[in-house]
């Protein structure tokens, strides 16, 4: 059955977004910016039954009147009800319009939608987080959640790769993360002052000491990265049911109706966006 957030049931119109203010813009590169969004009156975003603004891995639809809406996995701390942060890469019409805005301007917001990573299932286990480039936001919110509940989880490793050191996002938050979890960064093309790893995230994974019987993996990244990680984890005893991936699809409605995000039997917007690899492998159009 489709997952529907409680908030949707009380909404006057499920498609009507709320206006939000851009409180802060942080420029990571020419094509990537972080937007911190807050309510116009400064009030808090509503909390779900777990007391969080969203579940790590859930997504919101951010939009701009006259341009449209696009899905984003928030990167902010799910406990922080004062803001929702999204990271936007300039790729299409909507994201280019976002990039033309400045602090104080307004955007619109709907959501959160979808399921999120199964954090309750993760508790008590070691967690391997794997992502690349712009895939970091939902993983970042998951890390914040893990750090806030650090004793609930075992060993936690973040493997984060990008083309160049400049393409690694959220480095400003990593010093805090490093105090609580193992952070491994890697790039394809190192710069002269780069002291991290060189190569793919898969190379870093091979160097980790893992207790496979009690380990889960959470990912957000492109298909080839997911397959490569799957091919490493399966043989050491981490099966598809313990590997969770956030899927990307075109979306318009967010509520399982418009059909753009379908993936076999599943709707990425309501059944996902997080699936275990077993569910994905069984879809005819994975």
């Amino acid at each position: 059955m489709k997952t529907v957030s409680e908030f949707l049931k009380v909404m006057q119109n499920i498609y009507e977004p709320i206006p939000v203010k851009i409180q802060k813009i942080q420029e990571y590169s020419e094509s990537v910016k972080l937007f911190r969004l807050a309510k116009l009156d400064g009030s808090a975003f509503p909390l779900n039954e777990k007391g969080l603004v969203f579940m790590p891995g859930q997504f919101i639809l951010a939009g701009m009147w006259g341009y449209g809406e696009s899905p984003f996995g928030p990167a902010s701390h799910p406990n922080d009800s004062s803001c929702i942060e999204i990271i936007v890469r300039k790729v299409g019409q909507v994201t280019s319009a976002f990039h033309s805005l400045k602090e104080g301007d307004e955007l619109t917001l709907r959501g959160p939608y979808g399921n999120g990573y199964p954090v309750d299932f993760f508790s008590g286990k070691d967690v391997i987080l794997v992502t690349g480039g712009c895939g970091i936001p939902p993983i970042a919110s998951l890390i914040e959640h893990i750090i806030s509940n650090r004793n609930d989880f075992g060993e936690v490793h973040l493997l984060y790769g990008a083309t160049t050191p400049d393409d690694l996002l959220m480095k400003d938050r990593m010093n805090e993360w490093r105090k609580k979890i193992n952070v491994v960064l890697t790039v394809d093309k190192p710069a002269c002052n780069w002291d991290g790893n060189t190569g793919f995230v898969t190379d870093c994974l091979e160097h980790l000491k893992i207790n496979p019987a009690n380990t889960v993996a959470a990912m957000c990244g492109p298909g080839p990265m997911i397959s490569a990680i799957e091919n490493l984890l399966n043989p050491i005893g981490i099966p598809d049911r313990r590997i969770f991936v956030s899927m990307e699809r075109k979306m318009q409605c967010g509520v399982g109706r418009c059909q753009h995000c379908v993936c076999g039997d599943k709707y990425v917007c309501t059944d996902g966006p997080v699936f275990n690899l077993d569910e994905i492998d069984k879809a005819w159009d994975k």
Partner: protein, 320 residues
């Protein structure tokens, strides 16, 4: 003997003109497009936003309207579409119009239980109709109309069989089998999808004329002054090349998650006969026959499904 209300064929025009005085009347008897378009139009402005006043206006229909002449199969489709638009959350734009509508069906003798609608005119043997009141809304309309309907003894007729897509109509009584067969066919009978991929023209007509297809896209625009933004909901079609495509960035082509005609055309069947069954326990087809009639490539979905089911059953038998 139970009494029924009847209306003479020659009184129909007067009846219709009186209905037209009560509310805007649309005669859909000869319509190529299914009645869904009155609740879910091919294009509709859903929101307008004024950049200066920052006011968001939501589109609303305030007047009642009557759809006259809906076939039994289209009535069945509207009932199903109501369910689709209701679950898991209510589609406001659809129900804003649907709630204002009064549906009058027009059928031959055939029908057991009314599949939907508010009133159904059922053609009797002679040149007259039985006026079947289905809902309170229909009852209220007739009461307000005060049209002199004659009373007559009820005559029972045998329910006649579907006149379009007879074989598919029979298959639909086992949506689980259709689910299993269509799901199996992607790998088990991929030849048929290769063949259909060569025939399908990617035009989307089958989805536009389908009384149940409901996928849509949302498009924003700004007027010439630059102040008034409009959000428009439009019919989309899962068979169109851009349907599942996402942006790829400057100088990059973007990625389509259903890249080929084969994937897209199969997905259309998959929605109707696999996901439809998984979500609602029934296939999303009422055998109205429009997709076959208006397909410029002359693809006959009944023929396709009968073929797939036949092959599937044969494979099953040999496996047992």
């Amino acid at each position: 003997m139970k009494q029924v209300k009847t209306l003479k064929e020659k009184q129909l025009n007067v009846f219709l003109s009186q209905l037209g005085e009560k509310a805007q009347l649309f005669d859909v008897r000869e319509s190529v497009l299914p009645p869904k378009r009155y609740f879910f139009p091919s294009q509709e402005i859903t929101f307008t936003f004024n950049k200066k006043s920052k006011e968001v206006k939501t589109a609303k229909t305030s007047k009642n309207f009557i759809l006259f002449g809906i076939s039994l199969k289209d009535l069945e489709a509207i009932t199903y579409l109501d369910e689709i638009m209701q679950k898991p959350v209510k589609d406001n734009f659809y129900f804003n119009k649907r709630d204002k509508s009064i549906l009058i069906g027009l059928t031959g003798k055939e029908f057991g239980v009314a599949p939907g609608g508010d009133i159904i005119l059922r053609r009797l043997e002679s040149d007259e109709y039985e006026v079947v009141v289905v809902t309170k809304k229909g009852e209220k309309l007739l009461k307000n109309l005060d049209f002199p309907l004659k009373e007559k003894d009820r005559v029972e007729y045998e329910i006649s069989k579907s006149k379009t897509m007879v074989e598919l109509h029979e298959l639909l009584s086992d949506p689980e089998l259709l689910h299993d067969a269509v799901k199996w066919s992607w790998q088990g009978y991929s030849k048929i999808w290769d063949r259909l991929a060569g025939e399908c023209l990617n035009c989307g007509i089958c989805t536009y004329v389908c009384p149940l297809c409901h996928c849509f896209s949302v498009e924003d625009s700004v007027d010439l002054s630059g102040d008034e933004c409009r959000r428009c909901r439009k019919w989309d079609a899962c068979t169109l090349p851009e349907f599942a495509k996402v942006s790829g960035g400057v100088g990059r082509p973007g990625h389509s998650f259903h890249n080929g005609v084969k994937e897209r055309y199969y997905n259309w069947f998959y929605h109707k006969f696999v996901r439809g069954y998984l979500e609602f326990g029934k296939s999303q087809c009422v055998t109205c026959g429009r997709c076959k009639k208006y397909c410029p490539a002359k693809i006959d979905i009944e023929e396709v499904l009968v073929d797939i089911v036949k092959k599937y059953k044969k494979i099953k038998r040999t496996q047992e």
